[in-house]
Amino acid sequence: MLKLDHISLKAGDFTVDDVDLTVASKEYFVLMGPTGSGKSLLVKAVCGILPVQSGTICIDGNDVTDLEPGKRQVGYVPQNSSLFPHLSVLDNILFPLKVRKLPKKKAMSNIEPVIEALGIGSLLSRSTVNLSGGEQQKVALARALSFNPKLLMLDEPVSALDEPTRCEICGLLKRIQQDFSIATVHICHNLEEARIVSDRIAVIADGRIAQIDTLKNLMDKPKANVVKKILRLAD
């Protein structure tokens, strides 16, 4: 579903260098690494917000490296949810469909399953400003799923939440990913989060991929110190 081929990019002084990775369709892929390791930059590059210096990004077999963000069919949930404060919850969720000029009736029927799956029916008329952190993330997820994207990119979607809410949302994310059969890339630096959601994990440090494998294999055979450190296996 997603294939990154020798991706290099630069933001200020920081460089992400020669990243290769593949995410299968229907796979829940977790990108782990310490703060400032380049995880978010990589996600932004896949979403088209940040240009790459070299390499290619393929989504569903199509080269999207030079495609503008809106044409990549990627649902993006940023760290702070980034809901539009001037729109209600419903208008936020309908926003991508309004952009695509879908009639309101068709748009409403499109978002119904998403709203039901996330259990946010009671929030629709509310302003986004007064929502709790967990509710905001659910609405942001609904908005990202509303236009049936091929790929879901979640940039630390639960890092700002308290522990019980974090576990609840992680469980929800995994269930949604399975229900909608959508390839998902989830950034985190929390082992518990990765344990709940991941099919495979890539550990990234200093802008380079250190190891990609299932959590079990990473735990059993860590290939680098940074992997041990991230998985809390280091002495």
Binding site: G48, G70, R72, V74, N80, S82, F84, F95, V99
Partner: protein
């Protein structure tokens, strides 16, 4: 005295009446009293000369004053539209893009703010005396349009006020979270749709406040008008009318027009303050 700590704290504390508090609050009080005295002086002066409500009504309904009021409003509204058409794209470009010469242009934008207004009038005269300006002037005259008309007034109002609006518009675009624009892009918006549906609505209050400030500035333009279009009856606006009335010793009319200008400016300031980004009415 009791006051609240800014935003981060809701704790109410008793102020310590230290030296700094006394000095700064005293300066604030003197300034407020000074401004109030200036406004009250106009009112007392009118009362002193027996300008009651009846006389006030007579002055306000005189054809000359009404003509000036109408011309001031019409020209300043046209100037405001032109100012917004300039300030929104220019403010956005300065806020969002970094290009060669950005800092210099950003500084250059403030030039009309720091220059004495009369200099701008002289510059307009000089421009229309140059070959290019002369060519434009002749072209306009060909269609029966003179610069010594509402067109000249609008030019002066535009040139003096546009920088204020650009500055305010840029500040309100700066305040819009870039992450919201990124989110809109990934949700399918083009750059223009993001601007139309996300950036503009989020910067709306700042844009309105900037427009009001620029309009208030435009309606009060005086120096450039004196230099560029003069004081003929076809080009008189409120500030030039005030000056003419003063010159002929008709101070009551000048003061009434001054009070109208002050009222307009006060309303504009209150609305602009209320709408300005990041400000809360308190």
């Amino acid at each position: 005295m009791i006051f609240r700590l800014p935003e981060s704290s809701t704790e109410v504390v008793k102020s310590k009446r230290n030296g700094l508090f006394v000095v700064t609050i005293a300066c604030l009080a003197i300034f407020v009293v000074m401004v109030c005295l200036l406004i009250l002086a106009d009112i007392f002066y009118l009362m002193h000369w027996g300008v009651g409500l009846k006389k006030l009504g007579q002055i306000l309904s005189s054809p000359q004053v009404l003509d000036c009021l109408r011309r001031s409003f019409v020209t300043s509204i046209i100037a405001l539209l032109l100012i917004l058409m300039t300030a929104v794209p220019v403010g956005y470009a300065l806020s969002r893009y970094r290009f060669f010469g950005h800092s210099i242009i950003n500084t250059f934008i403030d030039m009309p703010i720091v220059l004495p207004p009369v200099v701008l009038g002289i510059s307009l005269l000089a421009f229309f005396g140059s070959p290019l300006g002369h060519w434009i002037k002749v072209g306009l005259q060909h269609y029966g349009i003179s610069l010594v008309s509402s067109l000249g007034i609008v030019m002066c109002q535009y040139i003096v006020s546009v920088s204020y609006c650009i500055r305010a518009v840029k500040a309100s675009f700066d305040n819009v979270d870039r992450r919201l624009e990124h989110a809109a892009l990934t949700l399918g918006c083009s750059q223009f749709q993001t601007f139309r549906w996300v950036t503009i609505p989020l910067a709306r209050n700042g844009l309105i406040a900037g427009g009001i400030m620029a309009w208030a500035r435009a309606i009060g333009v005086f120096g450039p008008l004196m230099v560029f279009v003069g004081t003929g009856s076809r080009v008189q606006v409120m500030p030039t009318n005030m000056w003419l009335e003063l010159n002929v010793g008709n101070i009551e009319t000048a003061l009434v027009v001054a009070l109208i200008t002050m009222t307009i400016a006060s309303i504009a300031l209150v609305v602009a303050h209320f709408l300005a980004p990041g400000r809360k009415w308190s």
